[in-house]
């Protein structure tokens, strides 16, 4: 579909200056995106969660680390909307605080994966000499058993990093690097695929013929054209990074229990799940909602940004 319905009725009355709305690629994509109700719902949910996590501490002023044994294991009430844990710490405050860490892990790990993945995909696709070796390497990385290796790597390198960067920062650097390092391969493959097909296009040929340098062709001509794919991959990789972080933390090998993230909240409260289910339900629901929202959004973005998918 080249013209989206409704917005462009060609002006038949000659002579009258009708202002046509200027349309851009992104404007077009937005129109397309809005049609997908689930994607919009996902975007809305995600904004809500991000705002809640960012602004939460300013509105809900409860210390997530304050221990109050007298108020231990209280079910959700007006005073503690998400209840309290076994030490009487407020679960809502802990979920907000944990959400900040979980979401930033997702974003930073995504950035690492995207930078590495795009660079490798771009070089492999554009420079034929490198293609074979880079893709071999990518395929080998893909065959590594991810979760088990992540677990082992986490447990082995946790202490040295913790000494270097401190308790919280050390764990953050560790988790983010490991997830990023193991997460770039799908992006690299996708980028390579589209670079290979873009390389055959006339505009690249034209650029080569007028004498544009290889570097410029890569950055100025090819990269902007694969932006759409990168954005979709980035969105989905935030979701998978959050999922991986919480899985590691849930197995007790991500963030240490005294640093609340959604995953480690589940880990530290897992023994109370029968007696006081709210301790695990709220963090679990938050993780699930976030990932669900991002995945719905990612699907919508894919449809909106990839014109070939449109019907």
């Amino acid at each position: 579909m080249s013209i989206s319905a409704g917005t462009a009725t060609p002006n038949v009355e000659l002579g009258t200056a009708v202002k046509r709305k200027h349309r851009t690629l992104w404007g077009d994509a937005w129109v397309q995106f809005r049609r997908n109700r689930l994607a919009v719902l996902g975007l809305f949910l995600l904004i809500l969660i991000v705002l809640g996590v960012l602004l939460g501490p300013f509105i809900y002023r409860v210390d997530p680390k304050e221990i109050n044994i007298l108020d231990a294991s209280v079910p959700p009430s007006l005073e503690h909307p998400f209840g309290t844990d076994d030490l009487g710490r407020d679960m809502l405050a802990r979920c907000i605080y944990g959400g900040r860490i979980s979401l930033s892990v997702g974003v930073v790990a995504m950035l690492i994966a995207m930078i590495v993945g795009t660079a490798i995909g771009l070089f492999a696709g554009y420079i034929s000499r490198l293609d074979n070796i880079l893709m071999r390497f990518t395929d080998m990385m893909l065959t590594l058993p991810q979760i088990p290796l992540l677990l082992v790597a986490m447990s082995l390198f946790r202490d040295p990093l913790r000494m270097r960067f401190g308790l919280e920062m050390g764990a953050f650097v560790m988790v983010v690097t490991i997830i990023g390092v193991f997460g770039w391969m799908p992006t690299a493959r996708m980028v390579r695929g589209s670079v290979l097909s873009l390389k055959q296009k006339e505009f690249v040929e034209a650029a080569v013929n007028v004498g544009v340098r290889n570097n410029s062709i890569m950055w100025r001509h090819i990269l902007p054209n694969i932006m759409a794919i990168i954005i979709v991959a980035a969105t989905l990789s935030v979701a998978s990074a959050i999922l991986t972080e919480s899985t590691l933390s849930f197995l007790g090998l991500g963030f240490p229990p005294d640093v609340p993230t959604w995953g480690s909240l589940l880990y530290e409260n897992r023994n109370y799940m029968v007696k006081s289910p709210w301790m695990v339900m709220f963090p679990g629901i938050l993780i699930s909602l976030t990932i669900l929202a991002i995945n719905f959004m990612g699907d919508g973005l894919r449809d909106a940004l990839d014109p070939r998918q449109r019907q």
């Binding site: 395929d139 058993p145 979760i147 082992v152 447990s155 849930f250 679990g284 699930s288």
Partner: protein, 338 residues
Amino acid sequence: MGSYILRRILTAIPTLFFISFVIFALLALSPGDPTGNLPPSLPMEIKQRVREALGMDQPMPVRYVRWLQQFMVNEPLNAIEKATGIQIGNSEDRLRITSWTARGKPVIDLVMERLPQTLWVVGLAYLLSIVIAVPVGVFAAYKQNSTFDSISSVIAVIGFSLPTFFTGVLVIQIFAVWLGWFPSLYNTTLDVTNWDTFVQQVKQMIMPVMVLAFFQIATVSRFARSSSIENLRQDYVRTARSKGLGERMVVMRHVVRNSMIPVVTLIALGIPGIFGGAIVTEQIFAVNGIGQLLIISIQSNDLPVVQTVLMIFAVLVVVFNLIADIAYGILDPRIRYS
């Protein structure tokens, strides 16, 4: 076909070496130490001798080759010997990989004790998910944009968005706590001897299998759907219809067979992944499988066990990659010649 399979096997070998090297290097670089669990009052010289006896003073390449020999030659021989009872070579003198914590028990024995539980749960979940996911995906594709399609698509996205550790917790809450249908923990000492224990075994397996299968159904059905949609648009479908074939024939004989090609690959490639997922499920339901063994040995710094379990996962990945490639070659002759 023969040369195609041979080529695939030849490319699988370097992959296996790469993975084994990553695993070896990861653990060789780690600060863990077999003497760490010995009493601190032990004099340094004795600790040093323990290290030497374990070969820790050798240079890294030597250790890698010896380690590889252990995994690729010695232990498989031991396993075969144990399974068949036939003595091969001088088995008494053959070095064994032993656990650092479980009183020096051979690691293979530890793994063998736990493998059946994992295989049962994982295998059943996988079978169940294929049986459900493929028809759902194909039907959703056939009725594209129908109510069935949109509902199954939404459920699929939910399925792979919900982390297994949360669905596990949720399922325990609903079926074990509220409804009281199934036990919340896996009874690992249960021996299936009669009908009652069999029922008990089935009951305790339902929840872990359900959790694992739900995730897998979501992934496979989405894939089956998009692959079928692609095939439904092909010219050969139109040809089949126009020569008067019934819809049933068109879909079952032509579309399904062709669209299953990538699905088979996905299924084969997903098997190692589901073992990874089983780590979480085993942890939630306290199933004593190899996933739990991995977690325990990581926590107790039992490197030989960790290495063995990782190697088993790695070999699984490579073997199933190979199976996927070969299956692809059989199903789609075009692949063989490219």
